[in-house]
């Protein structure tokens, strides 16, 4: 970048463009630093000695102390921290499997098949995207409570296997509609049924949409707080966000070190996922208005 070839025409414009480009980069980086300050801060603060966490706004700790992580890993309410991790993983991976399976088959039917009731059903599907989740909370809780399923993972996972995250159904419908039909028509002529067309032709082509769905589902379910808060009661079933709140509640002594250690541990997988899949994530977010 620094060794720009000299034989650029209009030599007067080049330095100007370069300095404008430099200003642009400086501006963007400055803005980015402000924006990502909290993220940088939580990482460095988690290894600060306890008395420095709140008072000092230096990013770098005066000396590195891992005691916060130590306390965090000990867990809380007699539940070790790895348990919260496992719970979060079970819930997140379960949600991913459920959403990918149930949403893709529903999307195939909506995008490729014509059947009676298609219009109204599609309208219902779109309608459920817009429906505020709060509306369903009270009656769903009542139903699960009557079924004796409170304090189990069923209320948290059942919907994922029944394609209730209509967002992803819609995302995949849009994707399938843009796939060339010639392939599945050829397969149809060859005598393939819809199940084989779906499994052998559409599903492999749908991969980018499936990955987008999987990542967003994982992150949302990893971060989910409200549903576990109302459905889970025993601490040994808690996922990380609930465990984190236990830390906040019970640390009347304000053990910021443990709190931050736990926060970092809960944020880390999301950030790792983001770094690994950022292109797919952002393309998914840009095309379908997915919320972070």
């Amino acid at each position: 970048m620094t060794t720009t070839p000299v034989q650029i025409p209009a030599p007067a414009a080049a330095p100007r463009a370069r300095s404008r480009s430099l200003a642009w980069h400086v501006g963007a980086v400055a803005l980015l630093l402000v924006l990502l300050y909290p993220v940088l801060w939580v990482f460095t603060a988690s290894v600060k000695p306890a008395d420095e966490i709140i008072s000092s706004f230096d990013l770098l700790p005066s000396k590195v102390s891992w005691s916060g992580f130590g306390t965090a890993l000990d867990g809380i309410a007699e539940v070790p921290a790895w348990r919260f991790f496992t719970n979060s993983l079970i819930l997140s991976l379960g949600s991913v499997v459920g959403n990918v399976l149930s949403c893709s088959i529903a999307a195939y039917a909506f995008a490729r098949l014509r059947f009676r009731g298609r219009g109204p059903m599609f309208a219902i599907m779109i309608g459920t995207i817009l429906l505020p989740t709060h509306l369903l909370l009270i009656p769903q809780y009542t139903m699960f409570q009557k079924a004796g399923l409170v304090d189990t993972y069923v209320p948290l996972l059942l919907g994922k296997f029944l394609a209730t995250d209509a967002f992803f159904v819609f995302l995949m419908v849009q994707f399938v509609r843009n796939l060339p039909r010639s392939l599945d028509e050829a397969a149809l002529i060859d005598g393939c049924g819809h199940f084989r067309i779906f499994g052998h032709i559409v599903l492999p082509l749908l991969r980018p949409a499936l990955i987008t769905t999987a990542i967003f589902t994982f992150i949302w379910s990893w971060n989910d707080f409200f549903a576990p808060l109302i459905y889970l009661q025993s601490p040994e079933k808690y996922p990380l966000p609930l465990a984190l709140r236990l830390f906040v509640d019970s640390t009347s002594s304000q053990d910021y070190g443990a709190m931050l250690g736990m926060s970092v541990l809960s944020l880390l997988p999301v950030i790792a996922f983001f770094v690994a899949f950022q292109r797919l994530l952002i393309e998914g977010a840009a095309t379908s208005g997915l919320k972070g």
Binding site: S21, G27, A28, L32, L35, L36, P38, V39, V42, I53, I54, F57, S102, I105, A106, A109, L113, R114, F115, M121, I124, T128, H134, L135, L136, I138, P139, Y141, T142, M143, Q145, L162, T164, V169, R177, N178, R181, H194, F198, W222, N223, F225, F226, I230, P241, L244, R245, V248, L260, S266, L267, V270, I271, Q278, I282, A285, A286, G289, K291, G292
Partner: protein, 322 residues
């Protein structure tokens, strides 16, 4: 001249995704029907069991006095009457929620649009910046982020110290009833990345020759922004506005974690959905809570409808005769 041809050419491309184009399926007739229903079975069960039935149940509950343990008792419109006229907490929480929606939504959209404009270039590194600016959207709603926020905005902490350096002494936003809601607004604005990527995608769709034509006509940067960018972007502005508003109305996590579940200090972060949560899951006043959710749906629905109605005046769709 040139501009009209490009916009026209863009329409079929944009519409291609919506075309159902299922003509060949018609020939398959009934057999197609059957496999479609097989494919849709999970979705149909989910829609019936987890969406439609709960909605009907909730509507019924809202006319009853129901505590989860005794049989629901029909009380007609009492719940609605009480929440509209006799419940000061509804009034207070609606006030806090509206203030939050009205402040956070435009600020977030403005930040999103501003950064999208900044990143709408062909310079190197734009994809990196786009990703980095988007990142807070993924973690912003988490408990971890709320805890960080609490520490950053509490008394004597980082933000306090930083503002103090400029002579602004707020004494910590979290514990000050006048400022606590603003820390939630800041947390929401921090997550501007989600609408930003949508703006950015739309900005990249604006035909370049529109700007060239405007420039030839002598339009400066501001004029080009107002007369080209804003109208071309208006459908996306509208989309983001509705989406962000609906989300802001339902905000719960950050208020709950930042105030430690109290909605404090002095009720200043006691948003509507927190009240809903307390009614339903602390007091088990299911009927009353259900009525509250229907009122929320109604209010959000009416505001969305009004936005849609008035959108004809300012939202410009490409290819539309004006």
């Amino acid at each position: 001249m040139a501009s009209t041809t490009t916009t026209d050419a863009a329409i079929p491309r944009a519409r291609r995704g919506d075309a159902p184009s299922a003509e060949p399926a018609k020939r398959r007739g009934r057999a197609g029907d059957r496999s479609a229903y097989v494919f849709l079975t999970p979705w149909m069960i989910g829609a019936a069991l987890l969406t439609i039935a709960p909605m009907l149940f909730s509507l019924y509950m809202s006319f009853t006095d129901y505590n989860l343990f005794d049989a629901p008792r029909w009380i007609g419109l009492d719940n609605y009457r009480r929440l509209l006229f006799d419940d000061p907490e509804v009034r207070d929480t609606v006030g806090v929620t509206l203030l939050y929606v009205v402040v956070a939504t435009p600020l977030k959209l403005a930040a999103a649009l501003g950064v999208a404009l900044l990143l709408n270039t062909r310079r190197k590194g734009r994809n990196f910046y786009r990703a980095a600016f988007y990142m807070p959207s993924l973690i912003g709603a988490s408990v971890g982020a709320a805890i960080v926020w609490r520490l950053l905005f509490s008394t004597g902490s980082v933000v306090d110290g930083f503002l103090g350096a400029f002579g602004v002494h707020t004494g910590g936003w979290i514990s000050d009833p006048d400022w606590s809601l603003m820390s939630l607004v800041a947390l929401s604005v921090w997550q501007f990345g989600a609408p930003m990527v949508i703006f950015l995608a739309a900005l990249q769709q604006i035909p370049r020759d529109l700007y060239e034509a405007a420039e030839i006509d002598g339009a400066g940067p501001w004029r080009r922004f107002v007369s080209v960018t804003v109208p071309m972007l208006s459908p996306v502005i509208f989309f983001n506005l509705v989406l962000e508003m609906v989300h802001a109305f339902q905000m719960f996590n950050s208020a709950f974690v930042l105030s430690n579940g109290t909605g404090g200090p002095a009720g200043s972060t006691h948003v509507y959905s927190m009240y809903l949560y307390e009614l339903g899951f602390n007091d088990f006043r299911m009927g009353y809570a259900a009525a509250l959710t229907w009122v929320l749906l109604l209010v959000v629905g009416v505001i969305t409808a009004v936005l849609f109605k008035t959108s004809g005046r300012w939202v410009h769709y490409a290819g539309e005769e004006k």
